[in-house]
Amino acid sequence: MPPVRQPLEPARAQPSSDATRLLLVPSEATSSEVLYERVAPVVNGMVWLYLATDPERDDIAQDILVAVVRGAASVRDPAQLEGWVARVAFNKICNLFRRRKLVRWLSLEALSGYEPPAPHVDFHGRELVARTQRILECLPVSERMAFTLHLLGNASLEEIAERCGCSERTARRRLKAARDRFTRLAKQDPVLASRVSEHTRPTGERRDG
């Protein structure tokens, strides 16, 4: 049974909901608040996808929103706003991951063993997601960004290539490399290992990720 694809960007897929949301904005709202209501679902969706269990999730989402609101005036075509916002959020998160890797490499903390920030208390029981995020941190950033879209966002190869700003061929190569790494690491995790089946891919099977 083929997996059911869920929309990657709710704001784009359900344009009718924008009008509903905007109706909820108080009449005395400023233009920034109006803009927020339009871009927040895209930003929150992207942050939730990549940083659901990250302790800095809320701050990062606010930072992205600030950047989006400040730079929204540069978008020439208002119809492309959501796409632009998704690209900005994607790049911000990508830069965050790169910066974290660099800081981890440069910081003296690396000498005594890096301890990632303690996650929030898992009130929602997202143990699988938390364990998966820890493995995803071990992947190269370019592979992690693409593979997260696929694994958690159920995005198609075309969507992944578009979001990552690369060709489908490159996206497929990154997905394959990330999947191999992830599978190998997931099999070492006692919780995730039981959910990774010993499935052998048929020779010549063409996969889109």
Partner: protein, 404 residues
Amino acid sequence: MAELERLASELRQELGSPPDAWQQAQRARWRQGLRAPAGRSRIRGFAPWVVASLGIMAGLIWLVAARRPAGSDERWLVAEELRGPVRLDDGSTISLGPGGRGRLLADSATVRFDLHQGRASFDVVPERKRSWTIRAGKNEVRVVGTRFSVFFGSDEAFEVEVERGVVAVQVPDRNASLELKAGDHLHGHPGQLELTHDVASALPPASAAASSPAPAPRAEDVAAVPAPSARPDVSAPSALPVAPEPLAARADWQLRYREGKYAESLALVRAQGVGKHLTDLSPSALAELADAARLGGDPELAVRALALLIQRFPGAAEARDGRFMLGRVDVLRGDDAAAVEAFEGYLHSGSSGRYVSETRGRLMELYAKRGDAERARSVAQQYLQATPNGPYRRLARSLITSQP
């Protein structure tokens, strides 16, 4: 992807969409204008690297600054830009002739002037703690306290004219320094320098103008080796009455000698007239004076000092070593007979001296040189018996094996 399908499905289900409560909280935060920084401060992680970088930079800056002595003065002097002589803090002056230019570096200990072109005149106030060096091409002039001028022109033409005092000139053609006195005029090109003496241009020394007469006229080619001369009469008093030098002044040349600055030491000896009062010196001072003269390029004065040392203090340790040194100076002067006499005297004074082996080696050479093979073999046998691995062993063996 099939092997991850189950996991992916559970992950998507667990992750779900952003909760409304979280989105509302984010909205409320936005409206409240909360703009907290994106992450924990990274300054703490970077701080050690920043501090280390700043420390390294500060160290480098300090090293560069420390290389340059404090209070140093470095400037270019160009005749066309100067309105008059350049006066230094100690009263010394530097004047440039037309077209003259050079670089001056002065600090509390040294003054150095690199003359690039033209004529420069110097009036140096004697100061013991400050050394003056003038460079003109490959030539170097060291100053004690004097008035003189240096010229450096095309084709490396070099000229030094001394009006007062003494300077030591180091030219590429000679290993030893050349001391110029008042009235001396050194001029020419590399390899063809000539020294002349002009009485009229000589000024009396500033400090002893009243008591010291002008030096006798002389003219010589500085490249020429001094001709061998008879042993001077060390007991004869100086022909001209000169007031004795104070002990403090004597100590200056000894200080320069102990610093290894033999030419400057010899220049001070001459300037202060120490050579005319050898009888006032102690055995150790005589030995040091002889060394300064020998190494500074005045073998005649060295011979005088050593002869006086041996004559007046025959029992002193300096006198015994002085015989060996006298022999060495005599060899340098080309007086082999006097050298043999001095070396034999050294050996006769005892067999435990530190130069016994060296003396035997030199005697071997001198005996062989004058054809006295029997004595040469005798000394060679003594040499090999005492020092079979000495530096003269090959000569000694050859002398012994060449026995008829």
